[in-house]
Structure formats: C-alpha cells, structure tokens
C-alpha cells in the first residue's frame, strides 16, 4: 500500500537521517526545546506537504522512525488545520496557506485539566455579547501551546441538556489580550515538542473567528480526531519501526543467535507488520473520504501499544546497552502514544460502539 510514494518515503528518510542526528535529538530532548529551525528547513525543502494526506502519513512514520521528538515537532505545526479545511469559512481556509507556508504555527486547544478524553464536559466558555464572544477558561496539555500563533479552540457557547451540544470552535489569535501560555516541562518523552497550559481571561473574539456553525463544535472536533488519529497511528508505527531497527542493529553487530531472541524478533516484527496493515488500511478509507472511525481507532490503539511493546523489547534485548540515549529515548517517547489523542481505553470504547452499531 502507498507504494507510489516510495520515492517520497526515501526522500523523507534521507532528510531525517541527515538532520535528526543523535546529537540533535539528544540536545532538544534534554533541553525540552522546540527545534524551530527544523520546522523551517522541512518547509523550505517541501518535506511536509499538507495538501496530500498520504504524504503526511508517510512523513510522520519515517521521521518518527528516526526520532519521535523531532519528527512530531516537524509535523505538528499544522495541528488542527483539518478543522479549518473542512468547516472554516473562505477567509479561514485562505489563512491556512500562511500555516502551510510556515508563516504561522497552529495548534488545537481542546483538552482541559478536568478531563483529557472527556471532550463534552469542557468548562471553557465563549459567551456571546453583541456580535462578539468573550472567551474564558483554561486548556491543558496543548501541543504547540506556547509557540502557536493561532489556535483552534473548543468552548461552550450555550448550556444544553446534552453536554456535547452547545460547543463551538473558534480560531484564536494568541496575540490577543487575555491569552496566557505556560510551557509545561518534565515530560517523560517527546520532549522536543512544545506542550503548554493555556488560560483565557476575557478574550474578545469576533463572530468571524467562529469556525463553522455555532453549537457544532463537538462534531467538528470528533471529525478532526477521526482524521488525526491516523497520524498518531503513523507516529506509533514509526516509533515501533525505529525500536526494531535498534534491535536488529544490535543483534547483528553482536552476532546474537539464541532462539529466545529470535522469537522476540519474530514477535516484534509480526506486530509491526499488523500495525502497518491496520494503519494503511484505515488511512486508505479515510483518504477516499470514506472514513471508518472504528478502523482508525483500531489502528491508533494498536499502533500505540505496539510502539510501547517494541520499545520495551528493545530495552530488554539490548540490556545494559539500552542505556545509550538513542534507545532509551525511543522507550520514553513511545508511552505517549497510548495516551494522547484519546487513550487506548477511549479508542476501545469507540471500536466496540461502532461494531455494536453494525457500522
């Protein structure tokens, strides 16, 4: 699947191997610093092509295979773009060109401290006042939160009987008065990525900042997650492949031939192959505009678990040699795959609900 992009895959890998050296990856990991120069470089070389979802998928997989901290940093400055692409007005869609060109960094503000996966119960409000909305509240664990120029933000615009009703999405300029971002540090992994806690204090938004229709925010965000989860699956797949690369390198270099290790290699390889099939299969439906959310969730959950599984196996097989940074970093990076964009538990609920509905 996606064989037509083999040359592109090769180009991405060459870029990653050249730029994501161990020294660079270790530096940004240790310093918990966002590598903005790599974002700009990848754009100038046309590495990330947001107009082609298959290319995004491949770029994410290949770059995360080399280093997930840097790979995710380079491929998430557009995070939330699909909401604007699908539901935004003409001006907002036009704005995306500035995001794709690298002029602006975008982010998505959905998660709140009170409940990561519980989107319907968010507490941030956008109260209508004349032709304006007044935004108040806070967001937690927001990727690009402290570096984004704009954020797609989910807020409650009305109280309804069903909590997922009455939510709306806005495009927020982070230069507006009342916006504050507090960079969060001390993450286990993907430390080159920027994560922040945001506060909104009486931020005035115009009606033009509203994305799509008022009250449809929950639907927009769920639609977005059904797309973005395939990219998280690609992150997990890439991490697992990167861990497997380290296993093979070590086993070959040390001429390890015991049967137990051979079985471990076979198990990791099998899980990676299954992850790849699941991910590419779900992506193929999505990219034909025939999304199958249960397949996307299967891919995301399984890829996350495979990333963790492969990285733990890499640590175990390499033993004390795993203490070299480039292996232990893979292990630390992998864990977030089971958590963000919907924990594995939430994905399992999505999968079973769709199956029981007969879809």
């Amino acid at each position: 699947m996606f064989e037509e992009y083999d040359d592109y895959r090769k180009q991405i890998r060459e870029f990653g191997l050249k730029e994501f050296t161990d020294e660079v990856a270790a530096k940004y990991d240790r310093g918990e610093e966002y590598p903005d120069y790599l974002r700009k470089k990848s754009l100038s070389l046309g590495i990330v092509d947001m107009q082609n979802p298959a290319k995004i998928l491949i770029a994410i997989e290949e770059l995360c295979r080399i280093d997930a901290g840097l790979g995710i940093s380079v491929t998430t400055p557009y995070f939330g773009a699909e909401v604007l692409m699908l539901f935004g007005n003409d001006k907002q869609k036009e704005f995306l060109n500035d995001v794709y060109s690298g002029k602006y960094v975008l982010g998505l503000g959905v998660t709140e401290a009170s409940g990561g996966s519980d989107v319907a119960h968010i507490k941030t409000t956008a109260t209508k006042k004349g032709d304006k909305y007044i935004l108040n509240g806070s967001k937690m664990f927001i990727t690009n939160g402290a570096i984004a120029d704009y954020l797609v933000v989910l807020a409650r615009t009305s109280d309804e009987d069903k909590p997922h009703h009455g939510l709306s999405t806005f495009l927020l300029n982070t230069k507006l008065n009342g916006f504050k971002a507090n960079k969060l540090t001390g993450k286990l992994g993907v430390r080159a990525t920027n994560t922040a806690e945001l506060t909104f204090d009486n931020i005035e938004l115009s009606s033009e900042d509203l994305i799509g229709e008022e009250g449809k925010g929950f639907y927009y965000i769920m639609t977005f997650f059904n797309i973005s989860r395939i990219y998280v699956a690609a992150q997990g797949l890439g991490i697992a492949e990167g861990a497997f690369d380290k296993i093979l390198e070590y086993v070959k270099a040390n001429e390890i031939k015991d049967e137990n290790t051979m079985f471990e290699i076979a198990d990791v390889a099998t899980r990676i192959e299954a992850t790849k099939e699941l991910t590419y299969n779900a992506a193929s439906y999505l990219f034909k505009f025939e999304p199958r959310p249960q397949l996307t969730s299967m891919a995301k959950a399984y890829a996350g678990e495979t990333a963790v599984y492969a990285s733990e196996k890499a640590m175990e097989i390499l033993g004390a040699n795993s203490l070299e940074e480039n292996v232990e970093r893979i292990f630390r990076n992998a864990k977030i795959m089971e958590i963000w964009e919907g924990t594995s538990e939430v994905e399992k609920l999505v999968i079973s609900r769709f199956i029981l509905k007969g879809e």
Partner: protein, 330 residues
C-alpha cells in the same frame, strides 16, 4: 502478611516515617543523592543494613533488609538502589578480603562505593595501573569501585568521570569512568555471577517497592479523578486491571517474605514490574506522563531494573533450577 512479626512491622513504619520526614523524592531525582542524605541514611543504619556490626553495620536479617529495600523503593527507587549496591553487591565482593575493613567507612556514609554490574565486555589494560574506560557506571562519585573483568578487582579513586543523562535511578550519578588508577585483584575469579544470583530476593524487594508505589498511586488517583461524570474507580476495565495488579503486588510480597524460592520470586517480580508501572502511567492519563505526579519514574526505573538484571542468563538459571540440571541449549 503472615510472615512478618511485630518487629518487622515497626521497622516498616520506621522506614516510611523516615522517608516522609527526611526525603524529597523529586529533589533526589533532580539534584541526586548528596552527602547529607548519605549521612542521614548511615546514621539510621540503613547504609550498612547487612554489614557486620564490627564495621558499624546493622547486621540485619534478610526479611528486615527486604523491608528496607521495599519501603525505600516505594518512595525513591534511587535510594533503594544505592543501599542495594552497598549491601548486595559491594559487601559480598569485599568480604573475607583485605578490603573488608572499607566497610567501616561505607556503613558510616564516609565512603561512597560502586560495583560495576552492567558491563560484560571490558577492554582494560593491567600494568602497575589499570587503564581503560568503563561505560555505564552507577554511582560515578565513588571512592572505589569493584569490577568483574573475568576476575574481581577493586580500583581505588579518584576517578576521571564523564557524567551522562540516565533514564533510570536518577538520584544516582551515572556515566563513564576513565581509569588510570591503582588496582588490586580481590579474587582471581569473577564473583559477579554468584553475587547477582544471590541478590535475586533483594532485587525482588526493590521491584516490589516500585510495584507497590505504582499501584498505590494509580488506586489513589482512581478514587479522586472523575471522567465522563464518574470516578475512575467506577470503570470496570480499569478497576479490574488495577485489582489484578494489586493482587500481584500482594502475591509477590507473600512469596518474597515467606522465602518461597528466590528463582520463582525473581521471575514473578520481573514479569510483573513493567506491566504494572506502565499501567499506573496509563491510569493517570496525560498527568502520568509528567514527572510532577511521581509515577513516570516508576515506569523508567522498572524497565531499567528488568533490562539490566533480567535476561537470557537469568532465564537459563531459572530453567536449570526448574529442571535440576545444567541444561544445554542449541
């Protein structure tokens, strides 16, 4: 725990109280174990837990020693690892040698020591001095170090060290040591294999502490965290798994303190530790991924413990023990 008596329970309470009163586990992870902590641990007899009283040690029995390791590990696995290195690795390395007297300064916290248990292949040259680099050493700020280069060698510092970031047991300094130092061969044979095999229950006690800390944090969080309008403790899949893990914790404690069989116990501990520490992170969601919640450290330390101390060699030892013969594998 039926095998523990009143004295054991008092010791457990004492260690807990000591940790809560004197140690800041986040500070230990960030700033390392310093001389003040060393002195404090020594003054309470923890540093020389197994060392003979003639060298100022506490000369504790195995159960008491394991209680100490478990309780420290639950609070700060780095402290437990330090105590383990002294009592389970250094002590049997120097016992019955002329260096046994070093134990006096070790138990009093005056001398920091290390044992290289991570390296299998050395490229060292032996002349008047020992020369070469030893990578991946825990406790690089040591005054002397024991190496197992086919034999058992003690090397006296000071050492030229290069510190590196280390994912696990962050309270201990880690890195490489460049040797151009005086040395003495303690034993013409390497004592490593026997020392490691004898330490299975000690390592299981550290694992138990990590498991217990991870399970406690996850269960506490499940009681206070609400999601989708209900407490986490009201969700079947999560609570079923946490309960299974709590059961495993108690099985491990039971087999460890009943001294069932060190091979079985160690195997059970190593097969449980990573899964449980990982699930504790999962239970905390995004918060689990940040150091502030004090749960990701259990996951880091769990994988290091398993990766470094448990592999094919240990599985072979288990199999030999189970089959009661030295098996030959194709």
């Amino acid at each position: 725990m039926s095998n523990l008596n009143e004295e054991n329970n008092i010791l457990r309470d004492t260690v807990r109280e000591f940790c809560e009163k004197n140690l800041d586990e986040k500070k230990i992870e960030e700033e390392k174990i310093d001389n003040n902590i060393n002195s404090l641990l020594a003054s309470q007899g923890f540093m020389g837990a197994k060392i003979s009283s003639k060298y100022g040690g506490s000369e504790l029995d195995d159960i008491s020693y394991h209680i100490i390791l478990e309780e420290f590990s639950k609070y700060s696995p780095s402290i437990a690892m330090k105590i383990f290195m002294i009592n389970s690795l250094y002590l049997p390395s120097v016992i019955n040698t002329e260096y046994e007297s070093y134990l006096q300064d070790v138990s009093s916290g005056k001398m920091n020591v290390s044992v290289d248990f991570m390296n299998n292949k050395y490229k060292l040259e032996y002349g008047n001095n020992i020369n070469g680099t030893v990578e991946n050493i825990l406790n690089t700020d040591s005054e002397n170090i024991v190496l197992f280069d086919g034999k058992t060698t003690i090397v006296n510092g000071p050492f030229k060290t290069r510190e590196k970031d280390f994912m696990g047991f962050k309270g201990l300094k880690f890195g490489s040591i460049e040797l151009n130092n005086k040395y003495n061969v303690i034993d013409k044979n390497s004592r490593k294999e026997k020392i490691m095999e004898d330490s299975y229950n000690d390592l299981s006690a550290i694992a138990l502490g990590i498991i217990s800390g991870a399970v406690d944090k996850a269960m506490d969080y499940s009681r206070v965290r609400t999601v989708f309008g209900a407490y986490l403790k009201n969700y079947e899949p999560l609570v079923f798994r946490l309960s299974e893990m709590y059961s495993k914790e108690n099985i491990l404690r039971s087999i460890l303190y009943s001294n069932l069989d060190k091979y079985y116990t160690f195997n059970f501990a190593m097969n449980s530790i990573v899964e449980i520490a990982r699930f504790s992170v999962n239970t905390h969601g995004g918060y689990g991924y940040f150091k502030d919640f004090g749960v990701e450290k259990f996951y880091r330390d769990a994988i290091i413990l398993k990766s470094v101390f448990y592999g094919n060699s240990e599985l072979k030892q288990l199999s030999n023990h189970v089959y009661s013969e030295k098996l030959t594998f194709i």
